[in-house]
């Protein structure tokens, strides 16, 4: 999915948690002012949601990814562009988180595609830079698990990958993802089911995580 290049498409999918946030979202009026061209309102809005946007991006890219700043700025612009079509069906903060997550996922997909064409040695890429300084044992298992999951999101077809990312990264229920994407809950459940099946296959093939899988944790 071309998340950053087509923010309007993301907007169509980015309404989260319907009914929870229609009333009393303190950022809604600020967001409306920003869409009318009020620069101060836009600055205020980003200062409020910036922290959670960074959190969503880090969950995808990793804690110390070198592209974090670039992706954060890209996500900021995507969010501002997408706000013009924001329907107010979720809280502004959740909308921002979803845009950020999709932007990060899109950046990861672009990078993966580029690497496939250039046949880059995976150990030399920036993608793993955040994991290099991690000490062994628990931390490395943790990172291996997260990497496996995120790689899966970017390798799956966009519809399944996005549904899985919403489920795992943002912790949304199938009902909420369905409402955001405008499809039925059953569709989302089957996407998540397919994604989980792919995850099981990868887990069974992953040597680093074999011990963790065997213990059944």
């Amino acid at each position: 999915m071309a998340a950053t290049s087509k923010p309007e498409l993301m907007t169509q999918q980015a309404s989260l948690h319907p009914s929870e946030h229609q009333q009393g979202d303190p950022l809604l009026s600020v967001a409306k002012a920003a869409t009318r061209g009020d620069a101060e309102a836009a600055a205020t809005l980003i200062s409020q949601v910036g922290g959670s946007m960074l959190q969503s991006i880090r969950r995808i890219l990793g804690a110390n990814h070198p592209d974090l700043d670039d992706v954060a700025q890209e996500a900021t612009l995507s969010f501002l562009k997408a706000l013009a079509n924001f329907r107010g069906e979720s809280s502004v903060a959740h909308f921002a988180n979803r845009i950020s997550m999709l932007t990060a996922l899109d950046a990861l997909r672009r990078k993966t595609r580029r690497e496939r064409w250039l046949v880059v040695d995976h150990d030399q890429t920036d993608l793993v830079a955040d994991d290099r300084d991690a000490p062994g044992g628990l931390a490395s298992t943790t990172d291996a698990r997260r990497r496996l999951l995120i790689d899966l999101f970017s390798d799956l077809t966009p519809s399944i990958g996005d549904a899985m990312a919403c489920y795992f990264v943002l912790g949304l229920t199938a009902e909420e993802i369905a409402a955001a994407e405008g499809v039925s809950q059953n569709t989302i459940w089957s996407r998540i089911r397919l994604g989980k099946a792919a995850l099981r296959r990868r887990l069974s093939q992953n040597v680093d995580l074999a011990e963790w899988v065997r213990r059944g944790e």
């Binding site: 960074l54 880090r58 612009l77």
Partner: protein
């Protein structure tokens, strides 16, 4: 991830939405469900990666500055976009008005032609037509008045000897809006005590499967001003939204409207469970009826475990301990890995 698990407690825990009972249920569930255990581990891994870092203040400042500059640069464009949206809405309104006025023009011209033809008739024919028209109108009015009176009488007569129907119908038809959700059950109870109210089926018959005026008033005030736009899905959605917003009374009214307008629909069947939950605190007998309804509804099979749990709670509130015990035994037998197992076992042990 050994197998898929439909339990959503782990997801809700991630968003800090569990009560202490649910937390207990989740702990018990995690001991037996490998899938949820691994899901929880993945969530923890992602949370750990997302933690704030020391340079975040600087990053957010840069993002803020970028947002400020970008919006300042594009303010005209954004304003134009806003204006375009307003223009689009105006165009839509204009098109609608034009269509409507076109229709009016057509009706007017047809009437004009009809009148022109009538004017050519001889006077005696006009007088005869007028007499026939007046007689017809008078007899129609008389027939309508008789029908309304006898219908109301029949409604009162038929409503009296059916206490069960009255109970169910009136509990679902609170007629006086009250903003306090805690008054929902009380208002419903007072409505139930009124024997003169016709049953829902009778009201449907009079209203031609539309809502009664009272219900419509509550429903329209609650959610939709245009009953013609209502669908089972929209009503269900609206009622759920009201329930989540703790507007129990209005939620009940909309669920009832859904059941009245779309009986047999999947949404109406699912609404039984929601009504059961809403009535559970103050009207366990009514709640029990709704949970029973949910258990017998085919479309609500996905929430049978919740309905069974609710039924157990309702029976407990009613003091029907033997039946409550049977429900917990059934729950343990049919849903051995559901989150309510801990509660069921505890009740059986007491």
């Amino acid at each position: 991830m050994s197998r898929d698990c439909g339990n959503t407690l782990i997801l809700r825990q991630r968003r800090q939405r569990l009560t202490s009972d649910e937390q207990l249920a989740l702990s018990a569930h995690l001991q037996s469900c490998e899938s949820c255990r691994r899901l929880g581990t993945f969530f923890e891994d992602l949370e750990r990666a997302g933690h704030a870092q020391s340079g975040d203040v600087r990053r957010i400042a840069r993002m803020t500055s970028l947002a400020h500059d970008w919006v300042a640069e594009h303010s005209e464009e954004l304003g134009a976009l806003d204006a375009r949206r307003v223009a689009q809405m105006s165009r839509l309104a204009h098109d609608w008005a034009r269509t409507r006025s076109g229709l009016l023009q057509r009706v007017k011209s047809e009437l004009g032609m009809l009148l022109a033809r009538v004017r050519k008739w001889p006077r005696w024919a006009l007088a005869g037509a007028g007499v026939i028209l007046l007689t017809g109108l008078a007899s129609a009015a008389g027939w309508y008045a008789r029908g309304v009176t006898s219908g109301a009488d029949r409604g009162a007569e038929q409503a009296l000897p059916a206490p069960a129907a009255i109970g169910k119908g009136s509990e679902e038809k609170p007629s006086v809006p009250a903003p306090d959700p805690t008054q929902a059950a009380d208002t419903a109870a007072s409505a139930e005590a009124s024997p003169a109210k016709p049953s829902p089926s009778l009201r449907r018959a009079h209203a031609g499967h539309r809502a009664s005026p009272a219900t419509r008033a509550v429903g329209s005030e609650a959610v939709k001003p245009e009953p013609a736009d209502e669908t089972a899905s929209s009503l269900f959605h609206d009622a759920n939204a009201l329930r989540r917003a703790n507007q129990a009374r209005r939620a009940i009214a909309v669920y009832q409207r859904l059941q009245e307008l779309f009986p047999g629909s999947a949404e109406a069947q699912l609404s039984e469970l929601s009504l059961g939950r809403l009535f559970l605190a103050k009207r366990p007998a009514a709640a029990l009826r709704h949970f029973q309804g949910a258990l017998s509804a085919r479309a609500a099979s996905s929430v049978h475990v919740e309905a069974l749990y609710g039924k157990g709670l309702a029976l407990k509130s009613l003091g029907r301990l033997k039946e409550e015990r049977q429900v917990w035994e059934q729950l343990l037998r049919e849903f051995p890995s559901c989150p309510y197992v801990v509660h069921a076992k505890r009740r059986l042990a007491e």
